[in-house]
């Protein structure tokens, strides 16, 4: 696995080379649709199962050996 091989730059978009936003072209049809598509997904309501999962993980934790 090659996770976290190197450090990720801090902050989204910090490595973008031309500061003026979307590399797909701000006014392009594709860029706008892509944003719509994605924003729709992001704003979808998050099911409870995830908060529950994190609580479970948290509860399970003290039971584990501390290094």
């Amino acid at each position: 696995m090659k996770e976290m091989s190197k450090k990720h730059t801090a902050g989204p978009g910090s490595g973008r080379r031309n500061g003026d936003g979307n590399p797909l072209g701000t006014n392009s049809e594709i860029a706008r649709k892509l944003k719509q598509y994605y924003d729709d997904l992001v704003s979808d309501q998050v099911p409870d199962r995830f908060a529950q999962l994190l609580s479970q993980l948290e509860k399970a934790e003290p039971a584990q050996k501390k290094d």
């Binding site: 003026d20 797909l24 594709i30 944003k35 997904l41 992001v42 998050v46 995830f50 994190l54 290094d67």
Partner: protein
């Protein structure tokens, strides 16, 4: 192992909407996407110590999610992408403010892209990552991401029959990459 900090947990929670969006973009299926997000959260929790505070947690999580997706896909022999309409049905429940038909067309077009192109254009065009971050997430060169993005864009234009996209103007990089077919 050291306890998971409260702030790590809070950040994980906060990243869930983005993770789900990325997962749906990869799997094209809402149920599989949520399973993938669940796996990702468990993995992230287990290996929270390998996250370097101060670096981009979202990028770190996307990397885990993506690795998980491809390893599952390899295991299952690539039946990951089924367009059985589950996603479409779910999304139909949320009447969008913006042109719904349009978006449906767009979704259909996006589905037709090869995974590597789709993920590249999503990471760059929607998730807000830089080329460098996207390259890191996908474990490939920056130039590879750039060319995938431009191929994805060209393909989408073709499928959606969008013309006149050379009025892209401001973006020198993409223009350079697509230059030849931007007639």
């Amino acid at each position: 192992m050291a306890a998971v900090s409260q702030s790590f947990k809070t950040e994980l929670l906060g990243a869930i909407p983005s993770l789900r969006a990325f997962a749906v973009s990869l799997t094209q299926n809402a149920d599989k996407a949520d399973d993938l997000v669940q796996e990702t959260l468990v993995k992230a929790w287990d290996k929270h110590e390998s996250f370097q505070p101060g670096t981009n947690l979202k990028a770190w999580l996307f990397t885990i999610l993506r690795n998980e997706f491809y390893s599952q896909m390899r295991k299952r022999g690539r039946e990951v992408q089924d367009s059985d309409g589950i996603m479409t049905a779910r999304l139909a429940v949320h009447p969008a403010q913006h042109g719904q038909l349009d978006l449906k067309d767009f979704r259909g077009a996006l589905e037709q892209l090869p995974e590597d192109q789709r993920e590249a254009i999503i990471l760059i065009g929607a998730s807000g990552f830089s080329y460098e971050e996207a390259a890191e997430i996908c474990g490939c060169a920056v130039g590879t991401i750039k060319s995938r993005v431009s191929r994805a864009r060209a393909r989408l234009q073709e499928i959606l029959k969008i013309s006149g996209e050379d009025e892209f103007g401001p973006d020198a990089i993409s223009a350079q990459v697509t230059g030849s077919n931007a007639a």
